[in-house]
Amino acid sequence: MLPKLHIAGLAAVAALLTSTAAQAQAQVDVTFWHSFGGKSEEALNTIVERFEATNPDIHIEPEHIGNYEEIVTQLQAAIPAGRGPDAVIMEVTRYGLFADRGVLMDLTPYMDADPLKQNLYPFAQEIGIYNGKNYIVPFNSSTPVTYVNRDIFKRAGFDELPPLTTFAEITAAAKQIQERLGEDGIRGIAAPGQFTRWGLVMGNGSDLVDRTTNEVMLDTPKTIDAYKWMASLVKDEHVASEDNVTDEDSGGEQFLAGKVGIIFNSTGNFGGNYRALGDNLRVLPMPCNDGCSVPIGGAGIGILDSADQEVKDAAYKFISFAASPESNALWFATTGYMPINRLTAEEPVAKEAMAGQPGIDVAIKQLDVAHGRARPPFVTWMRTQEYDLWQAMALGQRDVTEVMTEFADQTRAEAARLSQ
């Protein structure tokens, strides 16, 4: 009896092992590097779980690597070591170099065969194209918006929100806040971070790099004027903290803590801001000092060309799922990042968010004036250098015109070097 039981048991274990092995063999694993933490990561994990439930033969392994810059750095080190991921989130102005060097695969054939393409907004279609080929599919698209702490404005004597369209109007409001509430440790405005600096230059009728010709525009009069105004908030008007200049995240933190009246930031910060400020949060379009124009930011998902074909197929399936109306609606409602799919607005989750979270749709309403930015390889270099130069200008160490003229020359030289 005992031997028989043993044999039956062994047979059962063997059958189980065989089926598990077969399942493991059939399953395709996709490593996915991303940049989302907190609530955003929770929403991403929900999307992954839903995808895996409908695609049991694919396992997505999401890994939080850090911010966009840290992803680029880690990717650089991982690629030569053969330890790169299969899919990766890449910021929209930084993927050009990776596409140029053949690291990212051309997704055009996948996109052309995918009905998703017809449903993507034009900006979402455009953002992934580099040199005529599709390298990333947008996931978290954004524009910068103006966030206002209504309570601070009331305490500073504004019964109604003043117009915040021109640079002069913003300076005036920030000064009034600073004068009335400065002693309570409240600042009128947060010094703009790099994404919104680019946005404010565009709102002044210029750009850093021409988006059609890739020509450097750092030394055009309107770009210089925009930088002069931004620097003046810190060094002349003293309505923005110098801490925000040396630590670009600090402005956002101070706004969440109710210590700043106005901040320009990505619409992707909407969720966090709304949770922190609730009904005191107001969201306005970006300033239109000289015409209205805002940059499209955020990131898209690309697939590494080094991945095996079946992994590439599985990764694209996931990318397509992440851009579907259901996934996109969940992502939009949780984070505030813009919908990229025309059908997203029809989803109940999205409708609920629009009705219950006033201001979440401001970025969508700005889409008429939203533009993708130039992304030639030298943009990565330019963005890295810009931090130091911005510090020198905002802290009053160097003259804005002199810095921007020199910066433009250096950027042109770098563009020439990289194009060789």
């Binding site: 750095t73 690629i79 170099l97 440790g185 990565t380 270099w381 890295t384």
Partner: protein, 288 residues
């Protein structure tokens, strides 16, 4: 077989050092003569072009200057302070043991955590340092925005972090000095300062020499504190050589030029070590 035993015993360590030290040094040397961005399959030979670009770069020379200033100021402060504190904590009492442990604690604490905490302490608007100044009626300082102050903050934080290690090493060195020498000096009527200068300082010279070599190398290689607290700013005022190396290599994708800087730093440190051995090594007495 017995003849091979010693070689076999050291083989794992040799392999470890070769893989993690010598091979990277040689690879770095090779890469410094090539153009590479980590992504391209090709690494064309460019001769001395990376070195030429480096020598023509303003930010490289700024990093050299800032690092030199940092080393020249921070190392003597570290060693002087460590010797003075070690002297005070030499006696074996419960209080001195607690203080030694307290002072050593930063040495074993994560550098990044320390840098994050000190970033808050020295924040202009909400930092503890400015709150303390305002509490006694003094104006706020732009700790991390003023170029001079930012470097001073880096020196303060680095000294705070490293001091405990130096103190412990100095205490060990001081304890090795024979007490008879102090007794003899005392009989001869030597005052406290004279005894310190004529007996303690010369006899603790081997320890000072060791700490000097180690702290100069550490100072030249400072990275984490700067990267977290200032990213080399404001406007390059705390841009040390390794921060510049990281920026060139990992933000600007220029591995060739980054490797050239690494090679130059290596050569500089070796040259300094030889210089110290020639100039100071002769004055070091290992026996009383």
């Amino acid at each position: 077989m017995p003849r091979l035993t010693p070689y076999l015993l050291v083989a794992p360590l040799i392999a470890f050092i070769a893989v993690f030290t010598y091979i990277p040094i040689v690879t770095s040397l090779d890469l410094s003569f090539r153009e590479w961005d980590f992504l391209s399959p090709e690494k064309p030979w460019v001769g001395l072009a990376n070195y030429r670009q480096l020598f023509a770069s303003h930010s490289f020379w700024q990093a050299v200057w800032v690092t030199a200033v940092f080393v020249v100021i921070s190392v003597p402060i570290r060693l002087g302070l460590a010797l003075a504190v070690a002297n005070l904590l030499l006696r074996e009492t419960r209080g001195s043991r607690i203080l030694r442990a307290a002072l050593f604690l930063p040495s074993v604490t994560s550098t990044v955590s320390i840098a994050v905490v000190f970033s808050w302490v020295f924040a202009t608007d909400v930092g503890l340092a400015n709150a303390a100044l305002e509490a006694v009626g003094l104006p706020r300082l732009r700790w991390l925005q003023d170029p001079t102050l930012a470097l001073a903050v880096i020196i303060i934080v680095n000294t705070w972090k490293q001091l405990g290690y130096d103190i412990i090493i100095y205490i060990a060195g001081l304890q090795a000095i024979p007490t008879e020498l102090y007794d003899a000096a005392s009989v001869d009527g030597g005052r406290r300062f004279h005894v310190f200068r004529r007996v303690t300082v010369p006899l603790v010279m081997p320890t000072t020499y060791f700490l000097l070599v180690v702290s100069v190398i550490e100072a030249f290689q400072i990275f984490a504190i700067v990267d977290v607290m200032t990213h080399g700013g404001p406007a390059g005022a705390t841009n040390m050589l390794v921060v510049e190396l990281y920026k060139i290599g990992f933000s600007l994708f220029d591995i060739g030029q980054g490797s050239a800087l690494a090679v130059l730093l290596f050569v500089l440190l070796v040259a300094l070590a030889i210089f110290k051995a020639r100039v100071l090594g002769r004055r070091v007495h290992y026996e009383a």
